[in-house]
């Protein structure tokens, strides 16, 4: 039985639980609230505040602990105190603790661009340069009493617990605006993993569908065809009443085409309504068992605390069970159709998925802006255009255009190179060495782009700075080796993911499986854990400078292009 109460002005949920007492404090802030120049700030604050495992997801950041009532009170009070005093030293310490590279999930960027939910796909560019003021401002806006909720699972709320948070306002979740002109769509992802996600109405039917999909994928890809090591799905409810469903299949060596083909076939099967009542019945039963188990451990509380923050009703176990039990095969089939229509495939290899009826997600701009043209040094094929509206980089038929009024960030290197990233995630790279009089363009960009969108990058080694090649040399080279230039100039969307291996993403999903730990995920109602698993970050070397890797990615991104 979940009870609602309030602790120091923070809305709270309490329920008895088997096993050790646990509790958590959640704030309605996540990676989807960040901008590219502030990418990573939320997780930095998470690390600033506590060394214990917290979590930053797209919409929520929480601090969770287990122990005696006193330990829990000390931990949560400590979180609040730490949020009051973000000193420069502690910011530096937190940054140190966050250096391990993390895999990023590429799908959100292809669906949402470089804004809101798409931001999670990008490296944590803010980390090196974050100031105490920026961190303080972020805390003041998001980590407040009005934007928090508490849950406590155990005998009672610890007597000594005090939550000394600053006042503020409740912050609604950002709007999710897609940049995909048509769905179902596909893009080329990393080798070895076939992936897919969709956005559907959030309800028990969608949660059941996600589990049915997982079972089908495991059967078809792993057990039957032997093309995948494993396959998993995640159900991630969102504050706006939608849910994201993600499916990933890790291919066996040489099996990625079969994994993609099998994924496509399973999705088509479900869309066609080939779902039987027995299968749905089994999933409903398991979900019910999971819900009861979660209730007994207090593992439904975090999800309900999220509901509180979203202004949604807290759901009792009986209500949750009734909703799940009411799900029919017909309901699941209806979800499957909607899910299919909104789907986005991450296709490994070079074949794409046009053949299966999916539309290629845009990889570059359609328009070239008006403005002053700077020709490539010794390369007629190359043009950089600087106008009042923005920058275009053109090589052959590859176009990268970023408008100043739709620019998400500019990466700025000390040597003058600038990389503009549009809100649609298309990038335009200004490399001064490659164009005639390009210093003018660097000046234009610096004039037009406000300081808040600028991300300072560390100096590059000399051999990382591209140099124009003499025409004679170019002509002698096989067509294949000319490619890196393009990727350096119009670094397309895929090039961001050089370091992000889909395999690692999947491995994390697999190792943190659905029933791991006290906060096991039980679909809609269970937990948070799943939602945060994929939204990792990357703090190591920024992966924009490896020509070889870029070429590999570019090939993968657009295999049909012959130039």
């Amino acid at each position: 039985m979940i009870t609602r109460l309030e602790v120091d002005g923070v809305p709270a949920l309490h329920a008895p639980a088997d096993g050790p007492m646990h509790a958590g404090l959640v704030f309605r802030v996540g990676t989807a609230d960040e901008t590219l120049p502030l990418r990573g700030i939320t997780r930095l604050i998470e690390h600033l505040v506590t060394g214990a495992p917290g979590s930053t997801g797209p919409e929520h950041t929480y601090f969770h602990t287990r122990g005696t009532p006193t330990e829990i009170a000390d931990f949560l009070s400590g979180v609040c105190t730490a949020l009051r005093n973000p000193s420069a030293d502690r910011i530096a310490e937190a940054r140190e603790r966050m250096t391990a590279p993390r895999d990023r999930d590429p799908l959100p960027m292809w669906r949402y661009g470089a804004r809101s939910y798409g931001v999670a796909s990008y490296p944590e560019w803010a980390l090196p340069g974050l100031t105490t003021d920026q961190v303080g401002d972020w805390i003041a806006r998001w980590f407040t009493r009005a934007n928090a909720a508490l849950w406590v699972a155990g005998d009672e709320v610890p007597g000594g617990l005090s939550l000394d948070l600053a006042d503020g306002t409740r912050q609604p979740a950002p709007r999710a605006v897609t940049v995909l002109p048509a769905t179902p769509a596909w893009f080329t992802g990393p080798d070895g993993t076939a992936g897919w996600d969709t956005v559907v109405h959030r309800d028990a039917g969608a949660a059941v569908f996600a589990t049915v999909l997982e079972r089908r994928l495991q059967h078809e890809l792993r057990d039957r065809a032997g093309v995948a090591e494993d396959a998993r799905t995640e159900y991630e409810p969102r504050a706006d009443g939608t849910a994201r469903i993600l499916a990933l299949a890790e291919a066996v060596p040489g099996g990625q085409d079969g994994a993609l083909g099998g994924l496509i076939d399973v999705l088509a099967e479900l869309r066609a309504g080939r779902i039987d009542e027995d299968e749905v019945g089994t999933v409903v039963k398991h979900t019910g068992v999971g819900l009861r188990d979660a209730e007994s451990r207090g593992a439904r509380l975090p999800g309900q605390a999220f509901n509180l923050l979203a202004g949604r009703a807290v759901q009792t176990l009986d209500e949750a069970l009734a909703e799940v039990r009411a799900v029919t095969a017909g309901d699941v089939a209806a979800v499957a159709t909607a899910a299919y229509d909104a789907g986005l495939l991450m296709a490994p290899g070079t074949g794409g998925a046009d053949w299966a009826g999916y539309t290629a997600a845009p990889t570059m701009s359609e328009t070239v802006l008006d403005g002053r043209t700077h020709r490539g040094r010794g390369d007629r094929n190359l043009r950089l255009i600087s106008g009042a509206d923005g920058i275009s980089v053109v090589e052959g038929d590859v176009v990268g255009t970023v408008r100043y009024d739709a620019c998400a960030a500019v990466l700025a290197w000390p040597d003058g190179a600038r990389q503009l990233i549009g809100e649609d995630a298309v990038m335009a790279r200004v490399e001064p060495t490659l164009y005639r009089d390009a210093e003018q363009v660097v000046h234009d960009v610096d004039q037009w782009i406000p300081e808040r969108l600028r991300i300072g990058m560390p100096p590059r080694d000399r051999d990382r700075i591209p140099q124009p090649r003499p025409a004679t040399e170019r002509e002698e080279e096989p067509v294949d080796t000319r490619r890196p230039l393009i990727t350096l100039l119009v670094a397309g969307m895929a090039t961001l993911f050089v370091v992000a291996g889909g395999l690692g993403v999947l491995t994390m999903m697999l190792t943190q499986g659905p029933s791991g730990g006290v906060l096991g995920d039980v679909g809609e109602y269970g937990l948070v854990a799943s939602a945060s698993v994929l939204f990792g970050t990357f703090t190591g070397r920024i992966a924009l400078d490896s020509a070889v890797e870029l070429r590999r990615q570019q090939h993968a991104r657009n295999p049909a292009r012959s130039d």
Partner: protein, 279 residues
Amino acid sequence: MLPPMLLDPAAAYPKVAVLRAALDSGDWPACRETLDGAEPVERTCLTTVAAETEGITDFLRGVLSGDPSDGAAGALLGRHLAGSGDFTAAERVLVDAAARSPLDPAIWTVRLRTARGLRLGPSEARRRYDRLAEIDRHHVPGQSQYLRYLGGHDPDAAYDFARTAAAEATPGSLSPVLVAEYHIDRHIAAGHLDDATVHTELDEAADRSVHHPDYRHTHGWVRVTSTFAMAYALIGDDRAAAGLFGALGDHHSAQPWDLLGDPATVISRYRKRATGGEQ
């Protein structure tokens, strides 16, 4: 004077003409009656009629929009579109057809053809073949498609597949023809038929198929017999070729003879050589 040459499959299989007429007149119930009454291999072979019939796209799309779960319509439309070289359009139809009729061997057979046309990877072709083999382990039209796929990717795998499928086939059945198909393809690609091993393998395959007492004139027999005849003719075993030409009588299959040129001309020439002009 040589006997007439019946290259049209309708000469050996009357249902071909029935299906053609039904497709031409847009009579879907008649199409279904013909297909539904056919044996599985016969039914899959009959779908190739759609590859050669023009102007039926709208008709079949209309049938499918009325009943998206009509697997026969999906298989015919997929085969028709693949026949015109539009593998993407074909595959889009077939993804849905396979989703709705996962146990239809004709659909998986066409999907092996599109896998080759679309250059999908070996693991996907293998997955498709496995789905077919789950339904029918010896579905010779699908085996032929998969063999051709493998031939383009990995000749060793093609060789293993042909020999294994032939060895596992029911004695007197059609599937051992895969060995002859493999050797003909290798001959066209690399000219390797002058080899004692090839001869032995052909004999073994023929003994399990066209030369087996249980060999019957089921749908596909003309092409199978003709393929063995061609393989024997190419390695210069005129006696064996002549025997098979005799068994064929007036019936002949344009494939795989068309690999060598105009089928009627080529067949005449090889038949004349094998039989000493007596047939």
